[in-house]
């Protein structure tokens, strides 16, 4: 009986002692936390994607609070949450349209592969290292080995039927992790509300661009010359659309001799259909 009492006493006293030490320590070592940090954190996406450049969502919330990051730092959270964070921080709600990622390539099988069969690691970084600047004929385009698919936390990028990465514009939150992972650097951000896209990043001159891919931009400048808004410029043999100026008139879609510029809302697809190479 005495044993039981001893056991109870010793453990009870030990527990009480440690409890006391801990409660004293929690007062001594108290770190004051700004309640706003918790509030900001609740408005972030919570995926810990790292797209903002800070270690996790907690790091991003701390940076927003410290003023080193803008209230829009978390792209995946969207404009409503950015507005909520701005309110917490006592700022005006930011204006700005939703952005999404876009793959500047539509080649894939239409660009052709150098080898009958690639037996290396299924990864674009590895495919890039194959002698002669990668496995693809085109040395600028998407290799289609899915490195971007693996890093996407939102299931918003997939390899399509042509063997090219394609962004699901509805799911994309523009965290740009795919752009960081892509060894070819063909993924860029663009406004969600666009109609006309130009999926090519080939800087080669017309003839070789044509030889390497059936859906390449040859830099003919027909779109640049015909654009009524002056929104298209050809630089380094590849056209780019300035979405600040683009009015979605569709002139370039009609003029492009390669049928490369497309209206994404016309048939719901980015991919133009090109029958023969």
């Amino acid at each position: 009986m005495l044993n039981v009492i001893y056991a109870l006493l010793v453990l009870g006293i030990l527990g009480a002692l440690f409890g006391l030490v801990l409660s004293v320590a929690s007062k001594i070592f108290e770190v004051k936390k700004d309640p706003r940090e918790e509030a900001i954190l609740s408005h972030l996406a919570g995926a810990n994607c790292g797209g903002c450049g800070f270690p996790g969502c907690g790091g991003c919330a701390a940076a927003i609070l410290a003023g080193t990051a803008p209230v829009t730092a978390c792209a995946p959270a969207g404009p409503e949450n950015a507005a909520a964070i701005a309110k917490i921080m006592g700022q005006e709600a930011p204006t700005g349209e939703r952005q999404v990622a876009f793959v500047r390539c539509n080649g894939g099988e239409r660009a052709g592969h150098k080898f009958e069969r690639y037996v290396g690691i299924e990864d674009c970084v590895a495919a890039m290292k194959v002698a002669g600047n990668g496995t693809l004929d085109c040395s600028f385009g998407c290799l289609g080995r899915g490195t971007c698919v693996k890093v996407c936390k939102f299931d918003a990028i997939h390899i399509n039927a042509h063997g090219v990465a394609e962004v699901d514009r509805e799911k994309c939150t523009c965290c740009m992790q795919c752009a960081a992972a892509c060894p070819r650097h063909v993924i860029v951000s663009m406004p969600y509300a666009v109609d006309v896209v130009l999926p090519c990043a080939n800087h080669e001159k017309g003839a070789s661009a044509k030889a390497h891919c059936a859906v390449s931009c040859i830099g003919c400048k027909l779109c640049e010359r015909n654009c009524p808004a002056g929104a298209i410029t050809v630089n380094n043999n590849v056209a780019r659309i300035d979405y600040d100026k683009c009015t979605s008139c569709g002139t370039c879609v009609a003029k492009c001799p390669r049928k490369l510029i497309v209206d994404i809302h016309a048939d719901g697809k980015v991919a133009p259909v090109v029958a023969d190479k």
Partner: protein, 196 residues
């Protein structure tokens, strides 16, 4: 001189031939859970080493001056768990206040150590082996270093495994467990280690 040799023998045993992970199978949970990246593995290893050293010191004191005095040896497990849990909590608060950079670097791994059975294991083994205070502390710290060695080696292998071409059904823990098993076999080689 004799003490130094015996301490050296304890250290070598704890790091290599009696490695906590590969030959005693203690602390497997953080070993598998926090070994995807070398950086975090190093952080976890250092935190565990720190806590194991401190825990062996304090549990030895608690055992010698309280439990043995009152003839309550059968309470070791309960008392040690209490000590370790409070110790980790205390260290967490202390680090948050005085070394915030280290605190953020260790992150969630610090509270996780409470449930690391290698820490309780080292406290109980100290008593089982009849170690004195110095030996206990040395065994605790070198046991932690053995854990650090194991988890860093394992994490560097797992970083390479990401690019390896193995069947899909092996993805994740299956391939990690097979790797850990092979590493344990390799560490068995140290069991023949005879120094003096």
């Amino acid at each position: 001189m004799e003490t130094i040799f015996s301490l050296l023998a304890i250290s070598l045993g704890a790091i290599l031939s009696n490695n906590f992970i590969f030959s005693q199978f203690l602390g497997i949970c953080p070993f598998l859970g926090v070994s995807k990246k070398v950086d975090t593995a190093v952080g976890m290893g250092i935190a565990v080493t720190f806590v194991m050293g401190l825990a062996s010191a304090i549990t030895w004191l608690v055992n010698t001056f309280i439990l043995v005095k009152f003839d309550l040896m059968y309470m070791q497990t309960v008392a040690f768990i209490l000590v370790i849990a409070s110790l980790v909590q205390f260290i967490e608060m202390f680090l948050q206040k005085s070394m915030p950079t280290l605190y953020t670097a260790l992150g969630v791994y610090l509270p996780l150590i409470t449930t690391n059975c290698a820490v309780l294991g080292v406290a109980l083994l100290n008593i089982q082996n009849n170690y004195n205070f110095i030996e206990s502390v040395v065994y605790g710290i070198t046991g932690g270093l053995g854990f650090l060695l194991a988890i860093v080696l394992f994490a560097s292998i797992r970083e390479r495994l990401v690019f390896a071409d193995y069947p899909k059904c092996w993805d994740g823990f299956p391939i990690a467990l097979v790797t850990a098993g092979l590493m344990a076999l390799a560490f068995m080689g140290f069991s023949g280690l005879q120094v003096w």
